[in-house]
Amino acid sequence: MSDFSKLNRRQALKLGAAGAATIGATPLFFSRNAWAETFANDPGNKASVTLGFNVPQTGAYSDEGADELRAYKLAVKHLNGEGDGGMMNTFKPSSLKGNGILGKKVTFTTGDTQTKSDAARASAKRMIEKDGALMITGGSSSGVAVAVQGMCQEAGIIFMAGLTHSNDTTGKDKRRYGFRHFFNAYMSGAALGPVLEKEIGNDRRAYHLTADYTWGWTQEQSMRAFTEGSDNVDGMDGIKGIGWENVAHVKTPVGAGDFSQYITPVLNSGADVLVLNHYGKDMINSLTQAIQFGLRDKQVNGKNFEIVVPLFSRLMAQGAGENIKGILGSTNWNWSLKDAGSQAFVKAFGAEYGFPPSMAAHTCYCQTLLYANACEMAGTFYPPEVIKALEGFSFDGMGNGATEYRAADHQCFKDVLVVRGNQNPSSQFDLLEVVQTTPRSQVEYDPKIFGGELGPYKV
């Protein structure tokens, strides 16, 4: 048994100092891994982290999904320090080191959304629960994005959305754990409005055909607000428009195939503009059939009839063939951009796969790098800290100029491209020509207009 009465002064000081150090360090010792105990799929001491790429691998959007997956694989390669680094060389401010994320090698698992909400949720759940995915990303549909985002919020897993253009994704359905790099329907309307006024005038009568689901509704709402003014459009305020008049706005079923019964009423409606709020296969079919009915060559009200496709992609343009020529629309990004970031990405992607990336590939690649960078900035994988690192993060060098992840709604704000189907393509990929790069300031809006709540950091 120790005899404390025999302690000399030096020994008592040593013992006291050691005790103080022990007591001082105790809270840190016990709380050091507190995050590890409270967040899903913490990699802990593992040498690698797993990301979940949830893309359409079957169904009508599987080509787009395949391109997204190519971009993800390239991003993983670059994050792990392989290849030429792509946009990691141009992205700034960057905390990425090319040694994985926080020193852990990046691996991935994949899921098939089938562009169906239920299937997408199921595959995301499987990647989270069985494969230990720390982050879920991808998708080619707003319906899917909204569904998976909600599920990820409940699971406490960050969701970096792929191609989703509905205002709802970062509007009424926004979530604390969801982030969108892609632009949205509001921005398409804001960018296209002034260009349409300049190109085809303000004394126009428009007929809208709209895909009957979340994206189509918000696309029509935005296009009408920026052409007709927001007075007659539900859910939009304070937008002046360019003086267009609405003839009709008709909802069409998704995957209708033959749209002729919706196009024939346009012929004698008095409309001189047809706005096709369709995407993917629906857009290819409705545009092909509208042109077949002679709408592009028609004269109405003493003016040339015009067709507008608010959301374009190169993959869609390929499907529409000759019909896309001269048609105006907007896009998130195009491989022909000359900025250093876009060029670095196109070069890396082209060297890897032999063709240029689509806009879906671009947004997915950016999302992966942005998530990895946020982890590096936060110094942890703990989602609330990663979310805080992403919120309000401003960056450049990823195409589209200076960009910001707005904290209030997790929507990225950047320049928007207005494009036209190329009349004289110089190659099989040269399908869209950039008519105008609309500055970010012109497409910004008050986050309150779409409502919604982000929800808590801790779930």
Binding site: D63, N268, Q292, S427, Q428
Partner: protein, 338 residues
């Protein structure tokens, strides 16, 4: 008035597409007693005959776009155009109608192989087994097409001469505002010719008479020393040709993709059931009827009264008809009654 006439035309046009697929389905069901869920895949295969034929005609020299150095960007210069100038260009322009020439023998082969290789093993099995195996076959075929051609639709242009719209109003003295695409009118005529040809074959040829007799009473025809099975195999091939050529001609209207057969199949089955299982006349009548009804239900005036009616009208009509006429419009007693 114009809008009503144009919806009638549109309905006929839609109906023609439904009728052609339903005709083949009914032919196979009436002769072989097989519920063939792979019939839509045959329609899709026909469409991809047109895609393949155009690919062959447009085999090209690739002229590199020198401004792009990051990947292989090039412009196609078809050999036909280089070798034969305007004549070569004209041949490419007519790729869709010309591809009928390769589609017919190809579809005969497909039909024959399908019947001999798979379907015949299921003649005496339950309809549920037939549906499962043919549905499975359809999925295999469409996945093969997707693997070969991708998931994106592949546009096929009609010949330039019929690329625009015809002024149908002027033909009937109704003014200039009634226009309709030339190719859709051609498709309507083509459907009429095909339906007429199938009916004539069955009605006015000895071969057709034996087939009809076999449809009524296979055993008695067999007892007369006629190899009815061989004839039915040929009927299966004919049904494949009808669906396949319909697929070819439909490509300028709907850019083909691997899933197009499945999109039509469900509607065509509704058409067959509404028309009456096994009734060729019923299939054609129901096809046109449902096409017109669907077209009218999509008019804004109708949709403003009953929103969303365009999406359910076909099924609504089917329910009403089957409630009042349980065997369909022209269904025969004893066919699928049990």
């Amino acid at each position: 008035m114009d809008s009503i006439l144009i919806q009638i035309l549109n309905g006929l046009d839609k109906g023609a597409a439904y009728a052609l697929i339903a005709l083949g389905l009914t032919l196979v069901f009436g002769t072989l007693g097989i519920v063939n869920f792979a019939h839509g895949a045959i329609f899709m295969l026909g469409a991809f005959c047109a895609v393949t034929f155009r690919k062959l005609l447009t085999l090209s020299v690739k002229v590199k776009d020198e401004s792009v150095t990051m990947f292989a960007a090039y412009k196609d210069e078809p050999y036909l155009k280089i070798w034969f100038g305007d004549t070569g260009e004209a041949i490419i322009d007519y790729a869709v109608p010309l591809s009928i020439l390769i589609a017919i023998p190809f579809m005969v082969l497909v039909g024959y192989a399908m019947e001999r290789g798979l379907i015949r093993h299921f003649y005496k099995r339950a309809h549920a087994d037939q549906i499962l195996v043919t549905f499975g076959l359809a999925i295999v075929v469409q996945e093969l097409i997707k693997a070969s051609f991708g998931a994106n639709p592949i546009p096929q242009a009609a010949p330039d001469i019929v690329a625009g719209s015809a002024n149908v109003g002027l033909w009937f003295g109704l003014g200039e505002s009634l226009v309709y695409p030339w190719w859709r009118l051609i498709y309507l005529c083509f459907s009429g010719v095909m339906i007429f040809a199938v009916f004539s074959f069955l009605q006015f040829t000895t071969y057709g008479m034996v087939v009809r007799a076999g449809m009524r009473d296979r055993e008695t025809v067999g007892l007369l020393g006629i190899n009815i099975q061989r004839r039915f195999t040929i009927v299966f091939a004919i049904a494949a040709v009808v669906a396949g050529t319909a697929g070819v001609m439909y490509t300028p209207i709907l850019p083909p993709d691997y899933h197009m057969g499945m999109d039509f199949l469900v509607l065509s089955f509704v058409v067959v059931v509404v028309g009456g299982m096994g009734s060729l006349g019923g299939a054609v009548t129901a096809g046109f009827l449902l096409g017109i009804v669907q077209s009218f239900a999509s008019m804004n005036e109708v949709k403003s009264i009953i929103p969303g009616i365009d999406q359910i009208i076909i099924y609504l009509v089917a329910v009403v008809i089957l409630l009042t006429l349980p065997r369909g419009l022209m269904g025969r007693a004893g066919v699928m009654d049990d």
